[in-house]
């Protein structure tokens, strides 16, 4: 079977406990320059020849699927977050713009969002060309996948502290939680900027089958991320821990008992009060 005919895919996971937790905190993962230059050039040429907004035919091209969609680093990250035999993309969008565009796009969450601690699909972007700040890379606000909003109520938002441009060299792929706040950046250079967007889907229940770290400690891990800058104290901490435990397949044991209980950050001399039952302990800890 040709790679482009496959519906699902499996490979070795590449992310560690710490990296998966960081994804839960930030809501995105950037893989810079992982796709080879010759593939980037070929993808750019394809986009020039198919300049519509949904060039889904590229998903039937073996060279593209092999080198981008199931690229070991990208697919390894997807495998880590969505589990074995994840579903491959069936729709390709291209946020293709003619630069320069002096105006900036409006902050938004994409439609049909579903705020949840579950991660059942990933929104992934691929830059086939160098995308410095002058080419208007997409801007995101790390941690805002945890902050509920509605696109029609975000029109008055402009400069946001903590927002970052996804400036990246050609061949970069970044994975996001669907409802992270984002917008198109303004551009000053001349040229075409392609930004291919596609989805992977989960087909198996979540479990901690990525690259586990023997010394990873659920009790002392830092669950607070950049989303903490925008919400009530520790609310993001709790959301991140719930999302992480769900990914570990341990959501049934998730609990937050309030006050200084787990998962709040602290320098304790014992297991935190309310530490979920059954979570693995570091190999160096004797119980």
């Amino acid at each position: 079977m040709r790679i482009s005919e496959r519906k699902t895919y499996d490979c070795e996971p590449t992310m560690t406990d710490t990296q998966v937790l960081e994804f839960c905190k930030n809501g995105y993962l950037m893989l810079e320059g992982v796709v080879p230059d010759d593939v980037n050039r070929r993808a750019t040429k394809y986009c020039d020849q198919h300049s519509n907004m949904e060039p889904s035919g590229i998903l039937m091209e073996d060279w593209f699927v092999e080198n981008v969609i199931v690229h070991p680093e990208a697919a390894g990250a997807v495998r880590s977050l969505l589990g074995a035999n994840f579903h491959l993309p069936i729709l390709m969008s291209n946020h293709r713009v003619q630069c320069p565009i002096q105006t900036v796009g409006g902050w938004h969450v994409d439609g049909n969002y579903h705020y949840t601690h579950e991660l059942n699909f990933l929104q992934v972007f691929y830059y086939p060309q160098d995308t410095p700040i002058e080419m208007g890379p997409t801007q995101i606000v790390p941690g805002t996948h945890l902050v509920r909003n509605k696109a029609r109520f975000m029109g008055h938002l402009a400069s946001i502290k903590g927002a970052i441009p996804t400036t990246a060299p050609a061949g970069s792929i970044f994975l996001t939680v669907y409802h992270i706040w984002h917008r198109r950046g303004p551009s000053t250079a001349s040229g075409i900027r392609n930004l291919l967007k596609y989805f992977y889907w989960r087909t198996t229940p979540p479990q901690r089958d990525w690259v586990t770290e023997p010394d990873f400690d659920f009790a002392t891990a830092q669950y607070t991320g950049p989303g903490g800058a925008y919400v009530e104290q520790f609310r993001d901490t709790i959301k991140v821990s719930e999302m992480f435990l769900w990914l570990c397949g341990r959501h049934k044991s998730f609990q937050n008992l309030g006050g200084q209980s787990w998962p709040l950050p602290a320098d304790r001399n014992d297991l935190p009060y309310g530490f979920p039952a059954g979570l693995p302990q570091p190999q160096s800890v004797e119980l």
């Binding site: 902050v147 008055h156 400069s159 946001i160 502290k161 903590g162 925008y230």
Partner: protein
């Protein structure tokens, strides 16, 4: 008084001192100073702060100036105001305070970006 208004006033005073002030120039000068032929514009400043205190740190901003939407500088440290109170000290007038009814929405969820103040000034 703006610089333009001051210049108009000084012109009128000079003409008076030189005996050159006419009824027409006096009338025109008064109209110019009053700004009757140049309606004022409202500038609007949206500031999202981390708490409802006007002294809290600002995490978001949008400026509507001269009828144009303006972003702040890319680096948040360079934004014109780091707190709402700094904007007030600079002449901005708060016209909308964070809606306290939002407290009742949900105990565990958070919506939107911080506590929003809307300010205005007329120029």
């Amino acid at each position: 008084m703006t610089e333009t208004q001051k210049e108009t006033m000084e012109t009128l005073v000079t003409e008076l001192q030189q005996g050159a002030l006419t009824e027409a120039s006096l009338r025109k000068g008064i109209v110019d100073i009053a700004g009757a032929d140049s309606p004022k514009r409202q500038d609007v400043l949206y500031l999202q702060a981390v708490t409802t205190s006007p002294g809290a740190a600002v995490v978001g901003m949008l400026l509507v100036e001269d009828g144009e939407l303006r972003e702040g500088p890319p680096n948040s440290e360079d934004w014109p105001y780091q707190t709402v109170i700094e904007a007030v000290r600079d002449g901005w007038r708060i016209i909308s305070f964070p809606n306290m009814a939002l407290l009742a929405v949900d105990e565990k969820e958070f919506y939107g970006l911080g506590a929003e103040f809307i300010l205005e000034r007329w120029r």
